[in-house]
Amino acid sequence: MKSKPNLKTKIAELEFKNPVTVASGTFGSKDEYAKFFSYEKLGAVITKTVTRKPRTGNAMPRIWETPSGMLNAIGLQNKGIDDFIENKIPYFRRIKTHLIVNIAGESVDDFVYLAKQLDGIKGVAALELNLSCPNVDKGLEFCSKSSLTYELVKAVKETTALPIFTKLSPEAHDFLNVVEAAIKAGTDGLSLINTIRGMAVNVETMKPRLAKVMGGLSGPAIRPIALRYVYEAKSHFDIPVIAKGGIATAQDALEFIIVGADLVAVGTANFVNPYATMEVIEGISRYLNTHGYRSIAEIRGKLKTEKTNTMGTTAG
Protein backbone atom coordinates (compact mmCIF):
# COMPACT_ATOMS: atom_id res chain seq x y z
CA MET A 1 0.00 0.00 0.00
CA LYS A 2 1.22 3.45 -0.86
CA SER A 3 1.87 5.95 1.89
CA LYS A 4 -0.45 8.91 2.22
CA PRO A 5 0.79 11.87 0.20
CA ASN A 6 1.59 15.02 2.12
CA LEU A 7 -1.19 17.58 1.59
CA LYS A 8 0.09 20.08 4.14
CA THR A 9 0.10 23.63 2.90
CA LYS A 10 1.69 26.58 4.64
CA ILE A 11 0.71 30.14 3.80
CA ALA A 12 0.53 33.39 5.75
CA GLU A 13 2.30 31.64 8.61
CA LEU A 14 -0.55 29.20 9.00
CA GLU A 15 -0.19 25.49 8.40
CA PHE A 16 -3.20 23.82 6.81
CA LYS A 17 -3.53 20.02 7.05
CA ASN A 18 -4.76 19.97 3.46
CA PRO A 19 -5.50 22.65 0.87
CA VAL A 20 -9.26 22.13 0.78
CA THR A 21 -11.68 24.63 2.25
CA VAL A 22 -15.14 26.04 1.51
CA ALA A 23 -16.17 29.26 -0.18
CA SER A 24 -17.88 31.83 2.01
CA GLY A 25 -21.65 31.63 1.92
CA THR A 26 -21.83 28.08 0.62
CA PHE A 27 -21.32 26.23 3.87
CA GLY A 28 -23.94 27.73 6.14
CA SER A 29 -22.97 29.75 9.16
CA LYS A 30 -22.38 27.04 11.72
CA ASP A 31 -23.08 23.29 11.76
CA GLU A 32 -25.23 22.86 8.65
CA TYR A 33 -22.84 20.29 7.15
CA ALA A 34 -21.61 18.71 10.39
CA LYS A 35 -24.12 15.89 10.01
CA PHE A 36 -22.30 14.77 6.86
CA PHE A 37 -18.66 14.83 8.00
CA SER A 38 -16.38 16.23 10.67
CA TYR A 39 -15.21 19.76 9.88
CA GLU A 40 -11.80 18.75 11.25
CA LYS A 41 -11.16 16.97 7.97
CA LEU A 42 -11.13 20.30 6.13
CA GLY A 43 -7.99 22.37 5.74
CA ALA A 44 -10.00 25.37 6.89
CA VAL A 45 -13.56 26.62 7.23
CA ILE A 46 -14.38 30.00 5.72
CA THR A 47 -17.55 31.41 7.25
CA LYS A 48 -20.48 33.08 5.61
CA THR A 49 -19.97 36.85 5.56
CA VAL A 50 -20.40 38.58 8.92
CA THR A 51 -21.38 42.25 9.02
CA ARG A 52 -21.37 44.89 11.74
CA LYS A 53 -25.15 44.89 12.13
CA PRO A 54 -27.60 42.03 11.47
CA ARG A 55 -28.84 41.94 7.88
CA THR A 56 -32.17 40.44 6.80
CA GLY A 57 -31.00 39.92 3.24
CA ASN A 58 -32.81 40.49 -0.03
CA ALA A 59 -36.42 39.74 -0.97
CA MET A 60 -37.42 36.43 -2.58
CA PRO A 61 -36.76 34.95 -5.09
CA ARG A 62 -33.08 34.89 -4.30
CA ILE A 63 -31.82 32.05 -6.45
CA TRP A 64 -32.20 30.83 -10.01
CA GLU A 65 -30.60 27.85 -11.69
CA THR A 66 -28.61 28.49 -14.85
CA PRO A 67 -26.67 26.15 -17.16
CA SER A 68 -24.12 24.42 -14.89
CA GLY A 69 -24.52 27.07 -12.25
CA MET A 70 -26.83 29.34 -10.34
CA LEU A 71 -27.55 32.99 -9.77
CA ASN A 72 -27.94 34.16 -6.20
CA ALA A 73 -28.85 37.42 -4.56
CA ILE A 74 -29.04 36.41 -0.91
CA GLY A 75 -27.81 39.82 0.23
CA LEU A 76 -25.43 38.82 3.06
CA GLN A 77 -28.20 37.69 5.42
CA ASN A 78 -26.52 37.21 8.79
CA LYS A 79 -27.07 37.98 12.47
CA GLY A 80 -24.19 40.42 12.81
CA ILE A 81 -20.82 40.35 14.55
CA ASP A 82 -22.09 40.28 18.15
CA ASP A 83 -24.12 37.14 17.55
CA PHE A 84 -21.22 35.64 15.62
CA ILE A 85 -18.76 36.12 18.46
CA GLU A 86 -21.24 34.93 21.07
CA ASN A 87 -22.82 31.97 19.30
CA LYS A 88 -20.70 30.84 16.37
CA ILE A 89 -17.07 31.18 17.44
CA PRO A 90 -17.42 28.97 20.55
CA TYR A 91 -18.71 26.22 18.24
CA PHE A 92 -15.79 26.50 15.84
CA ARG A 93 -13.23 26.87 18.64
CA ARG A 94 -13.75 23.21 19.54
CA ILE A 95 -13.04 22.09 15.98
CA LYS A 96 -9.43 21.39 15.15
CA THR A 97 -9.15 23.25 11.88
CA HIS A 98 -8.50 26.86 10.95
CA LEU A 99 -11.42 29.27 11.01
CA ILE A 100 -11.24 32.08 8.48
CA VAL A 101 -13.90 34.70 9.14
CA ASN A 102 -15.28 36.50 6.11
CA ILE A 103 -16.25 40.11 6.85
CA ALA A 104 -17.93 42.84 4.81
CA GLY A 105 -18.96 46.43 5.38
CA GLU A 106 -20.18 49.52 3.64
CA SER A 107 -17.26 51.66 4.71
CA VAL A 108 -13.62 51.43 5.75
CA ASP A 109 -14.86 52.13 9.26
CA ASP A 110 -17.12 49.03 9.16
CA PHE A 111 -14.24 46.78 8.11
CA VAL A 112 -11.93 48.25 10.74
CA TYR A 113 -14.61 47.82 13.41
CA LEU A 114 -15.12 44.16 12.47
CA ALA A 115 -11.38 43.47 12.35
CA LYS A 116 -10.98 45.03 15.80
CA GLN A 117 -13.80 42.90 17.22
CA LEU A 118 -12.22 39.71 15.90
CA ASP A 119 -8.61 40.53 16.67
CA GLY A 120 -7.22 38.39 19.45
CA ILE A 121 -10.29 36.19 19.69
CA LYS A 122 -9.24 32.60 20.31
CA GLY A 123 -10.24 30.34 17.46
CA VAL A 124 -10.02 32.90 14.67
CA ALA A 125 -7.09 32.07 12.36
CA ALA A 126 -7.49 34.72 9.67
CA LEU A 127 -9.87 37.20 8.08
CA GLU A 128 -11.20 37.23 4.58
CA LEU A 129 -12.20 40.68 3.40
CA ASN A 130 -15.23 40.49 1.16
CA LEU A 131 -14.59 43.35 -1.23
CA SER A 132 -16.67 41.79 -3.92
CA CYS A 133 -20.24 40.91 -3.01
CA PRO A 134 -22.37 41.92 -6.00
CA ASN A 135 -25.65 41.65 -4.08
CA VAL A 136 -25.52 44.56 -1.67
CA ASP A 137 -25.15 48.31 -2.08
CA LYS A 138 -21.51 49.29 -2.33
CA GLY A 139 -20.62 45.59 -2.40
CA LEU A 140 -18.18 45.97 -5.26
CA GLU A 141 -17.01 49.48 -4.54
CA PHE A 142 -13.83 48.58 -2.70
CA CYS A 143 -12.40 46.57 -5.54
CA SER A 144 -13.58 48.87 -8.29
CA LYS A 145 -10.64 51.22 -7.84
CA SER A 146 -7.14 50.31 -6.73
CA SER A 147 -6.84 53.37 -4.49
CA LEU A 148 -9.94 52.32 -2.52
CA THR A 149 -8.65 48.75 -2.26
CA TYR A 150 -5.35 50.06 -0.94
CA GLU A 151 -6.98 52.33 1.63
CA LEU A 152 -9.24 49.58 2.95
CA VAL A 153 -6.68 46.78 3.14
CA LYS A 154 -4.12 49.07 4.77
CA ALA A 155 -6.62 50.22 7.40
CA VAL A 156 -7.57 46.64 8.28
CA LYS A 157 -3.96 45.49 8.29
CA GLU A 158 -3.07 48.23 10.76
CA THR A 159 -5.97 47.16 13.00
CA THR A 160 -5.33 43.46 13.34
CA ALA A 161 -2.48 41.03 13.79
CA LEU A 162 -4.51 38.34 12.03
CA PRO A 163 -3.49 37.32 8.51
CA ILE A 164 -5.88 38.77 5.95
CA PHE A 165 -7.05 37.41 2.62
CA THR A 166 -8.59 39.92 0.25
CA LYS A 167 -11.47 38.52 -1.79
CA LEU A 168 -11.74 40.22 -5.15
CA SER A 169 -14.23 40.27 -7.96
CA PRO A 170 -13.35 39.31 -11.50
CA GLU A 171 -15.31 42.43 -12.40
CA ALA A 172 -12.67 44.72 -10.93
CA HIS A 173 -12.06 47.20 -13.70
CA ASP A 174 -8.32 46.90 -13.66
CA PHE A 175 -7.82 43.56 -11.97
CA LEU A 176 -4.04 43.36 -11.77
CA ASN A 177 -3.79 46.93 -10.47
CA VAL A 178 -6.33 46.12 -7.77
CA VAL A 179 -4.35 42.99 -6.86
CA GLU A 180 -1.16 45.03 -6.70
CA ALA A 181 -2.83 47.62 -4.48
CA ALA A 182 -4.01 44.92 -2.07
CA ILE A 183 -0.50 43.45 -1.92
CA LYS A 184 1.13 46.84 -1.39
CA ALA A 185 -1.33 47.53 1.42
CA GLY A 186 -0.15 44.37 3.11
CA THR A 187 -2.70 41.67 2.34
CA ASP A 188 -1.35 38.24 3.29
CA GLY A 189 -3.18 36.56 0.46
CA LEU A 190 -5.93 36.79 -2.12
CA SER A 191 -9.24 35.00 -2.47
CA LEU A 192 -10.15 34.57 -6.11
CA ILE A 193 -12.84 34.81 -7.34
CA ASN A 194 -16.22 35.97 -6.09
CA THR A 195 -19.33 35.50 -8.22
CA ILE A 196 -19.84 37.34 -11.51
CA ARG A 197 -22.97 39.45 -11.91
CA GLY A 198 -25.65 38.02 -14.16
CA MET A 199 -29.38 37.91 -14.61
CA ALA A 200 -32.28 35.91 -16.02
CA VAL A 201 -35.77 36.87 -17.13
CA ASN A 202 -39.08 35.01 -17.10
CA VAL A 203 -40.41 35.75 -20.58
CA GLU A 204 -44.00 34.84 -19.63
CA THR A 205 -44.23 37.45 -16.89
CA MET A 206 -41.44 39.66 -18.26
CA LYS A 207 -40.11 39.82 -14.71
CA PRO A 208 -36.54 39.18 -13.60
CA ARG A 209 -36.01 35.75 -12.05
CA LEU A 210 -34.42 37.39 -9.00
CA ALA A 211 -36.19 40.03 -6.92
CA LYS A 212 -32.92 41.97 -6.84
CA VAL A 213 -32.84 41.74 -10.68
CA MET A 214 -29.11 40.99 -10.83
CA GLY A 215 -27.31 38.30 -8.89
CA GLY A 216 -23.96 36.57 -8.63
CA LEU A 217 -23.30 33.69 -11.00
CA SER A 218 -21.48 30.74 -9.47
CA GLY A 219 -20.91 27.06 -10.13
CA PRO A 220 -18.99 25.12 -12.79
CA ALA A 221 -20.11 27.67 -15.41
CA ILE A 222 -17.58 30.20 -14.06
CA ARG A 223 -14.71 27.76 -13.46
CA PRO A 224 -12.66 28.57 -16.58
CA ILE A 225 -12.91 32.28 -15.74
CA ALA A 226 -11.84 31.70 -12.14
CA LEU A 227 -8.94 29.56 -13.29
CA ARG A 228 -7.77 32.29 -15.61
CA TYR A 229 -7.82 34.90 -12.82
CA VAL A 230 -5.89 32.67 -10.42
CA TYR A 231 -3.37 31.93 -13.17
CA GLU A 232 -2.97 35.63 -13.97
CA ALA A 233 -2.54 36.64 -10.35
CA LYS A 234 -0.01 33.87 -9.70
CA SER A 235 1.87 34.68 -12.90
CA HIS A 236 2.33 38.30 -11.89
CA PHE A 237 2.71 38.21 -8.14
CA ASP A 238 4.25 36.05 -5.47
CA ILE A 239 1.21 35.96 -3.21
CA PRO A 240 -0.81 33.12 -1.62
CA VAL A 241 -4.17 32.51 -3.31
CA ILE A 242 -7.29 30.78 -2.03
CA ALA A 243 -8.93 29.72 -5.29
CA LYS A 244 -12.66 29.36 -5.75
CA GLY A 245 -15.12 29.41 -8.61
CA GLY A 246 -16.94 26.29 -9.72
CA ILE A 247 -14.76 23.76 -7.95
CA ALA A 248 -16.83 20.59 -7.55
CA THR A 249 -14.41 17.69 -8.00
CA ALA A 250 -10.78 16.78 -7.34
CA GLN A 251 -10.10 17.24 -11.03
CA ASP A 252 -11.33 20.84 -10.79
CA ALA A 253 -9.28 21.48 -7.64
CA LEU A 254 -6.16 20.05 -9.29
CA GLU A 255 -6.48 22.45 -12.22
CA PHE A 256 -6.30 25.36 -9.78
CA ILE A 257 -3.40 23.86 -7.83
CA ILE A 258 -1.45 23.25 -11.02
CA VAL A 259 -1.81 26.93 -11.98
CA GLY A 260 -0.56 27.84 -8.51
CA ALA A 261 -3.46 28.00 -6.07
CA ASP A 262 -2.40 27.48 -2.45
CA LEU A 263 -5.82 26.57 -1.10
CA VAL A 264 -8.88 25.52 -3.07
CA ALA A 265 -12.41 26.25 -1.88
CA VAL A 266 -15.46 24.23 -2.84
CA GLY A 267 -18.38 26.62 -3.22
CA THR A 268 -21.80 26.18 -4.74
CA ALA A 269 -21.06 22.47 -5.24
CA ASN A 270 -21.65 22.05 -1.49
CA PHE A 271 -25.33 22.75 -2.15
CA VAL A 272 -25.50 19.92 -4.67
CA ASN A 273 -23.18 17.41 -3.04
CA PRO A 274 -22.69 17.80 0.72
CA TYR A 275 -19.68 15.47 0.53
CA ALA A 276 -17.96 17.43 -2.27
CA THR A 277 -15.08 18.63 -0.07
CA MET A 278 -14.38 15.13 1.24
CA GLU A 279 -14.39 13.75 -2.30
CA VAL A 280 -12.00 16.50 -3.39
CA ILE A 281 -9.52 15.69 -0.58
CA GLU A 282 -9.62 11.97 -1.37
CA GLY A 283 -9.35 12.60 -5.09
CA ILE A 284 -6.28 14.83 -4.71
CA SER A 285 -4.53 12.14 -2.64
CA ARG A 286 -5.43 9.49 -5.20
CA TYR A 287 -4.08 11.66 -8.02
CA LEU A 288 -0.80 12.27 -6.20
CA ASN A 289 -0.41 8.55 -5.49
CA THR A 290 -1.27 7.49 -9.00
CA HIS A 291 1.21 9.93 -10.49
CA GLY A 292 3.96 9.14 -8.02
CA TYR A 293 4.06 12.46 -6.17
CA ARG A 294 4.72 12.46 -2.45
CA SER A 295 3.41 15.91 -1.72
CA ILE A 296 1.07 18.49 -3.12
CA ALA A 297 3.96 20.94 -3.28
CA GLU A 298 5.38 18.89 -6.16
CA ILE A 299 2.52 19.85 -8.47
CA ARG A 300 1.61 23.33 -7.23
CA GLY A 301 2.21 25.96 -9.90
CA LYS A 302 3.78 23.39 -12.22
CA LEU A 303 1.70 24.29 -15.25
CA LYS A 304 3.63 23.29 -18.36
CA THR A 305 3.31 26.01 -20.92
CA GLU A 306 5.12 25.78 -24.20
CA LYS A 307 5.57 28.53 -26.68
CA THR A 308 3.91 27.88 -30.00
CA ASN A 309 5.03 29.32 -33.31
CA THR A 310 2.78 30.98 -35.86
CA MET A 311 2.01 27.65 -37.50
CA GLY A 312 0.47 26.50 -34.24
CA THR A 313 2.97 23.70 -33.79
CA THR A 314 5.08 23.43 -30.70
CA ALA A 315 8.44 25.11 -30.90
CA GLY A 316 11.44 23.50 -29.23
Binding site: S68, I74, F271, P274
Partner: protein, 253 residues
Protein backbone atom coordinates in the same frame (compact mmCIF):
# COMPACT_ATOMS: atom_id res chain seq x y z
CA UNK B 1 -30.61 12.67 7.06
CA UNK B 2 -28.47 10.90 4.50
CA UNK B 3 -27.51 11.21 0.84
CA UNK B 4 -28.05 7.87 -0.87
CA UNK B 5 -27.91 6.38 -4.34
CA UNK B 6 -31.20 4.63 -5.02
CA UNK B 7 -32.37 2.46 -7.89
CA UNK B 8 -35.65 3.32 -9.59
CA UNK B 9 -38.29 0.59 -9.30
CA UNK B 10 -40.90 2.30 -11.42
CA UNK B 11 -41.53 5.65 -13.10
CA UNK B 12 -44.76 6.13 -14.99
CA UNK B 13 -47.35 8.68 -15.98
CA UNK B 14 -50.59 8.15 -14.08
CA UNK B 15 -52.78 10.91 -15.54
CA UNK B 16 -52.56 14.22 -17.40
CA UNK B 17 -50.89 15.93 -14.46
CA UNK B 18 -48.77 13.45 -12.54
CA UNK B 19 -45.98 10.94 -12.84
CA UNK B 20 -45.28 8.43 -10.10
CA UNK B 21 -41.73 7.42 -9.21
CA UNK B 22 -40.79 4.70 -6.75
CA UNK B 23 -37.55 3.44 -5.25
CA UNK B 24 -36.45 1.47 -2.21
CA UNK B 25 -34.38 2.70 0.71
CA UNK B 26 -34.54 1.54 4.30
CA UNK B 27 -32.98 4.74 5.61
CA UNK B 28 -34.93 7.25 3.52
CA UNK B 29 -38.24 5.54 4.36
CA UNK B 30 -37.64 5.24 8.10
CA UNK B 31 -39.87 7.35 10.39
CA UNK B 32 -40.87 9.69 7.59
CA UNK B 33 -43.81 11.98 8.28
CA UNK B 34 -46.20 13.71 5.84
CA UNK B 35 -44.84 17.12 4.83
CA UNK B 36 -41.21 16.02 4.73
CA UNK B 37 -39.33 15.91 1.47
CA UNK B 38 -36.27 14.66 -0.39
CA UNK B 39 -33.79 16.60 -2.55
CA UNK B 40 -33.00 14.65 -5.70
CA UNK B 41 -29.91 14.84 -7.89
CA UNK B 42 -30.96 14.00 -11.44
CA UNK B 43 -27.59 13.98 -13.19
CA UNK B 44 -24.11 13.71 -11.75
CA UNK B 45 -22.51 16.00 -14.33
CA UNK B 46 -23.50 19.52 -13.23
CA UNK B 47 -26.36 19.91 -15.71
CA UNK B 48 -28.99 20.40 -14.52
CA UNK B 49 -26.91 21.76 -11.70
CA UNK B 50 -29.19 21.86 -8.68
CA UNK B 51 -31.18 19.14 -7.02
CA UNK B 52 -34.97 19.06 -7.20
CA UNK B 53 -37.03 18.86 -4.00
CA UNK B 54 -40.04 16.50 -3.90
CA UNK B 55 -42.49 15.79 -1.08
CA UNK B 56 -42.86 12.26 0.12
CA UNK B 57 -46.08 10.85 -1.35
CA UNK B 58 -46.11 7.50 0.38
CA UNK B 59 -43.76 5.05 2.10
CA UNK B 60 -44.53 1.36 2.45
CA UNK B 61 -42.22 -1.55 3.23
CA UNK B 62 -39.13 0.59 2.57
CA UNK B 63 -40.52 1.65 -0.80
CA UNK B 64 -40.85 5.38 -1.33
CA UNK B 65 -43.27 6.88 -3.80
CA UNK B 66 -42.95 10.36 -5.26
CA UNK B 67 -45.79 11.94 -7.20
CA UNK B 68 -44.58 14.74 -9.45
CA UNK B 69 -45.77 17.14 -12.11
CA UNK B 70 -43.68 18.03 -15.15
CA UNK B 71 -43.00 21.71 -14.53
CA UNK B 72 -39.64 22.37 -16.14
CA UNK B 73 -36.48 20.88 -17.52
CA UNK B 74 -35.58 18.95 -14.37
CA UNK B 75 -38.90 17.14 -14.05
CA UNK B 76 -38.97 16.58 -17.83
CA UNK B 77 -35.61 14.82 -17.52
CA UNK B 78 -36.94 12.83 -14.58
CA UNK B 79 -39.69 11.37 -16.79
CA UNK B 80 -36.97 9.85 -19.00
CA UNK B 81 -35.58 7.81 -16.10
CA UNK B 82 -36.37 4.13 -16.29
CA UNK B 83 -36.54 1.17 -13.96
CA UNK B 84 -32.99 0.33 -12.91
CA UNK B 85 -31.66 3.90 -13.37
CA UNK B 86 -30.07 5.52 -10.34
CA UNK B 87 -30.76 8.78 -8.53
CA UNK B 88 -28.97 10.39 -5.61
CA UNK B 89 -31.50 11.23 -2.92
CA UNK B 90 -30.94 13.37 0.17
CA UNK B 91 -33.50 13.03 2.94
CA UNK B 92 -35.64 12.98 4.88
CA UNK B 93 -35.70 16.78 5.02
CA UNK B 94 -37.88 19.43 6.60
CA UNK B 95 -40.48 19.69 9.30
CA UNK B 96 -43.65 17.64 8.91
CA UNK B 97 -47.27 18.65 9.36
CA UNK B 98 -48.19 18.79 13.02
CA UNK B 99 -49.10 15.54 14.67
CA UNK B 100 -51.65 17.20 16.87
CA UNK B 101 -54.65 19.14 15.60
CA UNK B 102 -55.85 19.41 19.23
CA UNK B 103 -58.91 17.28 18.54
CA UNK B 104 -60.12 19.59 15.81
CA UNK B 105 -61.53 18.42 12.48
CA UNK B 106 -58.71 18.45 9.96
CA UNK B 107 -59.53 19.93 6.57
CA UNK B 108 -56.81 19.43 3.96
CA UNK B 109 -56.73 21.80 0.98
CA UNK B 110 -54.42 20.79 -1.87
CA UNK B 111 -53.50 21.78 -5.39
CA UNK B 112 -50.71 20.91 -7.84
CA UNK B 113 -47.48 19.93 -6.12
CA UNK B 114 -49.36 20.14 -2.81
CA UNK B 115 -51.50 17.09 -3.57
CA UNK B 116 -48.91 14.37 -2.77
CA UNK B 117 -48.01 15.46 0.79
CA UNK B 118 -51.67 15.96 1.71
CA UNK B 119 -52.75 12.58 0.31
CA UNK B 120 -49.92 11.16 2.44
CA UNK B 121 -51.29 13.04 5.47
CA UNK B 122 -54.84 11.82 4.78
CA UNK B 123 -53.57 8.23 4.68
CA UNK B 124 -51.47 8.72 7.78
CA UNK B 125 -54.07 10.36 10.01
CA UNK B 126 -57.83 10.31 10.30
CA UNK B 127 -58.83 13.62 8.75
CA UNK B 128 -62.26 15.00 7.98
CA UNK B 129 -61.90 16.34 4.44
CA UNK B 130 -59.39 16.25 1.62
CA UNK B 131 -60.21 19.04 -0.83
CA UNK B 132 -58.29 19.08 -4.08
CA UNK B 133 -58.26 21.74 -6.78
CA UNK B 134 -57.03 21.24 -10.33
CA UNK B 135 -57.58 22.42 -13.89
CA UNK B 136 -59.76 19.69 -15.34
CA UNK B 137 -60.92 16.07 -15.13
CA UNK B 138 -57.74 14.66 -16.67
CA UNK B 139 -55.77 15.81 -13.62
CA UNK B 140 -57.99 14.06 -11.09
CA UNK B 141 -56.15 11.26 -9.30
CA UNK B 142 -57.27 7.73 -10.20
CA UNK B 143 -59.45 6.15 -7.46
CA UNK B 144 -56.72 3.57 -6.80
CA UNK B 145 -54.43 6.37 -5.56
CA UNK B 146 -56.97 7.40 -2.91
CA UNK B 147 -58.12 3.98 -1.75
CA UNK B 148 -56.45 4.32 1.66
CA UNK B 149 -57.86 7.77 2.29
CA UNK B 150 -60.71 7.60 4.80
CA UNK B 151 -61.62 11.27 4.54
CA UNK B 152 -64.36 12.82 2.44
CA UNK B 153 -62.65 13.75 -0.81
CA UNK B 154 -63.87 16.77 -2.73
CA UNK B 155 -62.62 17.97 -6.10
CA UNK B 156 -62.93 21.37 -7.72
CA UNK B 157 -61.91 21.86 -11.35
CA UNK B 158 -61.35 25.20 -12.95
CA UNK B 159 -63.15 24.17 -16.15
CA UNK B 160 -65.99 22.45 -14.28
CA UNK B 161 -65.35 19.07 -15.95
CA UNK B 162 -65.24 17.25 -12.60
CA UNK B 163 -66.60 18.01 -9.13
CA UNK B 164 -67.26 21.61 -8.22
CA UNK B 165 -66.63 24.20 -10.93
CA UNK B 166 -64.11 26.80 -9.79
CA UNK B 167 -61.34 27.07 -7.25
CA UNK B 168 -60.89 24.70 -4.34
CA UNK B 169 -61.58 27.57 -1.94
CA UNK B 170 -65.28 27.27 -2.94
CA UNK B 171 -65.28 23.78 -1.45
CA UNK B 172 -63.48 25.03 1.63
CA UNK B 173 -66.05 27.77 2.04
CA UNK B 174 -68.89 25.22 1.90
CA UNK B 175 -67.23 23.08 4.58
CA UNK B 176 -66.78 26.11 6.80
CA UNK B 177 -70.40 27.22 6.26
CA UNK B 178 -71.68 23.79 7.29
CA UNK B 179 -69.70 23.85 10.52
CA UNK B 180 -71.53 25.31 13.52
CA UNK B 181 -68.36 26.54 15.11
CA UNK B 182 -65.68 26.97 12.42
CA UNK B 183 -63.07 27.33 15.17
CA UNK B 184 -63.37 23.56 15.58
CA UNK B 185 -61.70 23.16 12.21
CA UNK B 186 -57.97 22.91 11.54
CA UNK B 187 -56.85 23.60 7.98
CA UNK B 188 -53.70 22.13 6.44
CA UNK B 189 -52.80 23.35 3.00
CA UNK B 190 -50.18 22.92 0.30
CA UNK B 191 -50.23 24.05 -3.31
CA UNK B 192 -49.69 27.08 -5.51
CA UNK B 193 -48.89 30.24 -3.53
CA UNK B 194 -52.02 32.02 -4.76
CA UNK B 195 -54.20 29.13 -3.60
CA UNK B 196 -52.56 29.03 -0.17
CA UNK B 197 -52.91 32.78 0.21
CA UNK B 198 -56.65 32.50 -0.50
CA UNK B 199 -56.98 29.60 1.95
CA UNK B 200 -55.11 31.44 4.70
CA UNK B 201 -57.18 34.57 4.12
CA UNK B 202 -60.39 32.60 4.49
CA UNK B 203 -59.10 30.81 7.58
CA UNK B 204 -58.22 34.13 9.22
CA UNK B 205 -61.64 35.55 8.40
CA UNK B 206 -63.31 32.71 10.30
CA UNK B 207 -60.70 32.51 13.05
CA UNK B 208 -59.58 29.05 11.98
CA UNK B 209 -56.12 27.78 12.88
CA UNK B 210 -54.00 25.79 10.53
CA UNK B 211 -50.74 25.38 8.72
CA UNK B 212 -49.31 25.71 5.24
CA UNK B 213 -46.45 23.89 3.58
CA UNK B 214 -44.60 26.58 1.67
CA UNK B 215 -42.03 25.67 -0.92
CA UNK B 216 -39.66 28.28 -2.21
CA UNK B 217 -37.00 27.70 -4.83
CA UNK B 218 -34.21 25.99 -2.95
CA UNK B 219 -30.71 24.78 -3.58
CA UNK B 220 -29.13 22.90 -0.66
CA UNK B 221 -32.13 21.66 1.34
CA UNK B 222 -30.09 21.80 4.56
CA UNK B 223 -30.32 25.45 5.60
CA UNK B 224 -27.01 26.59 4.15
CA UNK B 225 -27.76 28.63 1.04
CA UNK B 226 -30.58 30.79 2.48
CA UNK B 227 -32.27 30.76 -0.91
CA UNK B 228 -35.67 29.43 0.22
CA UNK B 229 -36.67 31.94 2.89
CA UNK B 230 -40.23 32.41 4.10
CA UNK B 231 -41.27 35.65 5.73
CA UNK B 232 -42.61 35.09 9.24
CA UNK B 233 -43.42 37.37 12.17
CA UNK B 234 -40.09 36.22 13.56
CA UNK B 235 -38.14 37.25 10.44
CA UNK B 236 -37.06 35.12 7.49
CA UNK B 237 -37.03 31.37 8.09
CA UNK B 238 -35.67 28.61 5.86
CA UNK B 239 -38.36 26.65 4.10
CA UNK B 240 -36.05 23.61 3.95
CA UNK B 241 -35.13 23.25 7.65
CA UNK B 242 -37.44 25.48 9.70
CA UNK B 243 -40.30 24.65 7.32
CA UNK B 244 -41.70 23.83 4.87
CA UNK B 245 -44.68 23.61 7.24
CA UNK B 246 -45.52 26.85 9.03
CA UNK B 247 -48.49 27.68 11.27
CA UNK B 248 -50.82 30.33 9.81
CA UNK B 249 -50.15 32.48 12.87
CA UNK B 250 -46.40 32.50 12.13
CA UNK B 251 -46.90 33.86 8.62
CA UNK B 252 -47.14 37.51 7.69
CA UNK B 253 -50.43 38.75 6.22
Amino acid sequence: MRDEWVTILDNRKINQAYWKLSFKSSFLSRSVLPGQFVNVLLEDDSDPFLRRPFSYYRTKNQTIEILYEVLGRGTRLLTLKKKGDRLKVLGPLGKAFTQSAKGKKQILVAGGVGVPPLVFLAEYQRVSHLLIGCGSKGEVLPKSELKNVKAQVGYATEDGSYGKAGFVTLLLHEVIQREKNPKNLFIQTCGPHAMMEAVIKMARKFGIEGEASIDERMACGVGACLGCMVKTHDGYKTSCVEGPVFAFCELED
